[in-house]
Symmetry: C2
Subunit: 344 residues, 2 copies
DNA sequence: CAAATTAGTTTAATCGTTTAAACTAATAAA
DNA sequence: TTTATTAGTTTAAACGATTAAACTAATTTG
């Protein structure tokens, strides 16, 4: 392995001190350095293909130009896409990103945080799993630049970039009400995470405001184990019986995928027997029989803003920025107005 | 921001030199150090919540315990899943991974390589875009531990972990032949990348060996711009005309998604009018009308092996390991035997 | 023309570790 | 008792950069 060139090597060749080389290559003290020497240094640096050792640089400056990103699972399309936008935005500012997946597990999250901090990331973008409030508070105490993304804790004052989940679900229910659906159910995740509970709150509030019936049994929370089977069972319950629901909202992309598969295997006709609203956007929806109505998250903005808020925090540590972005309801055939389907 | 504790802090509290603290916490010279002092040091380290500064450590040892991973696009489910397995496997060995997306662009790839090397990653896992042969050779010259994944260059002797793409496609065509399909087309990517050309080679060889007709027009390569439209146009051409093809192979997950959408919008019946074989596994296939036959890549093994081969290379730099894993054909209704479909 | 300023460069400390080598005091061997 | 050995610990250099401060020689100012 050929050794990399260091400042010292350049200094030796040119016959100056490493300090001077450093000044030149960092464009410092420009007015003080003779043009010829600067030129020679730059030339030699180029000839020797000098690449600064970021580790050494970091040790001295205690800035690594590296950001840590912890999501639930990088293999989940939502997070994969988010990660991609974060990567691109970070790169624009000459930052590198280290990703890690917490699997919604607080212990794993703590471990990842420690690992990332030991690597001296300059800041952290975190999609926190449930139950990490103390970890977040701890990070704040330590003064680690931090921005939460996708989820946040309403009781802890941190920077965050998230969807206005209440509004998103509220709008979706409104859309269904307007289309004439009266019996509207929802399948959601069984979790205390604020972004999910907000979706439930939006659903319930919209039912009320649109004068739709609220039934406890029409709102079903499902845990992560056996999720597909539980979703299928729920849908079966929803659609059979004397008074089946007319429309269902899936409160996350994972629920939606499971729900759509169940709908297929139960041979429920969409939207004739059941109208459907999904959460998140994915390529996969394109393969479903009926074009699907869904709530689109502005993933790109989410990612870009997370980075820029974090970089702002790096500059002004005390600054707290809280951003709620609106989701967009993409109306398609899966929630076509009942009146059109059933002409009188 | 409260300052992190350093070796020095511990040394001060205990009243010993930093060297001793370092020896104790790294379990070196164990037989030389007095038990009581060791115990005190460990206790104080714990009390002060000491976390070693990896940057300083790295500078001294020139090992960062960080791996670089460059894929085409982390938002692509195949790479996202691969990345996840790589992350997990690396973590098992106490390594951290930095991901980056090349967008199949050689210049971007070069830039990413440079960035990662400046951050002193210990090794590189690379899914190389087309045209980076020189970059790979360069890395080898520099003695950077490297393993290619998913794709490789047959003319360059590097470690790699990849699918046996020839075999995968060959098997798929054999499966179609056995099921009675005679007129078999394929849609592939227009690229020189070995893994893709191997798929084509497998297709052609299998046609021949199964005594199926080979027609130039039944093999269509499609570039990345306007991919969905081009795929749709191709499928229309395939299925109309006097002698339409009976089965089609999609040579990548991106092609498959575009193809399946096109099949839907063209209202082609699967498998009655057209049998379909897809590449890669994705959740999305579950939403298609007909259960799809597909070639499953062992993504988990791919990821795990990539890491372990790389770690081996770290230990024995001269060692080259080349692994070709077999794909698995998952036969489903989309390639149901013709005899069953058309009983005589 | 001496003193002050300026230009151009170097010195040396520092970041937080690691680690070979040196040192000291206690113990064992001769 | 002197010498050699061993145990326990410290010293100090090094990794590759950054940067305040010091230095020197040339130039300007009074």
């Amino acid at each position: 392995m050929q050794k990399k060139t260091s400042l010292k090597d350049i200094a030796q060749v040119v016959g100056v001190s490493t300090a001077l080389v450093s000044y030149v290559l960092n464009n410092k003290k420009e007015n003080r350095i003779s043009k010829e020497v600067a030129k020679r240094i730059r030339q030699v640096a180029k000839d020797l293909n000098y690449q600064p050792n970021q580790i050494a640089k970091s040790l001295k400056t205690s800035r690594t130009r590296t950001l840590g990103l912890i999501v639930a699972d990088i293999a989940n399309p939502f997070f994969a896409t988010l990660a991609r936008y974060i990567e691109d935005e970070a790169d624009k500012h000459n930052y590198t990103v280290i990703f890690a997946s917490s699997d919604e597990n607080p212990d794993k999250c703590q471990k990842l945080i420690t690992t990332l901090l030991n690597r001296q990331v300059d800041g952290l973008i975190l999609a926190p799993p449930a139950g990490v409030e103390s970890q977040v508070i701890d990070l704040q105490k330590k003064g680690i630049p931090l921005v939460l993304v996708d989820r946040y804790f309403p009781d802890i004052r941190t920077s965050y970039v998230a969807l206005n989940n209440f509004q998103a679900m509220y709008t979706a229910v409104g859309h269904l009400a307007k289309a004439g659906y009266r019996r509207v159910g929802m399948i959601t995740l069984d979790t205390d995470l604020f972004h999910i509970t907000e979706r439930t709150r939006g659903y319930l509030a919209a039912l009320q405001d649109n004068h739709l019936t609220t039934r406890r049994s029409w709102l079903k929370s499902i845990g992560p184990s056996n999720l597909p089977a539980d979703v299928a069972r729920t849908l079966q319950a929803f659609t059979t019986g004397p008074q089946p629901i007319e429309a269902v909202l899936f409160a996350s992309n994972v629920i939606a995928m499971a729900g759509l598969k169940a709908i297929k295997s139960l041979s429920v006709a969409v939207p004739n027997e059941l109208a459907v609203v999904c959460f998140d956007e994915t390529d996969a929806y394109g393969l479903f029989d009926t074009p699907l109505t869904y709530i689109r998250q502005p993933v790109q903005e989410l990612g870009q803003l997370a980075v820029s808020v974090l970089l702002d925090t790096l500059a002004i540590p005390s600054q707290i920025t809280q951003i709620n972005l609106d989701g967009q309801l993409i109306g398609q055939a899966s929630t076509q107005p009942v009146s059109i389907l059933l002409p009188d």
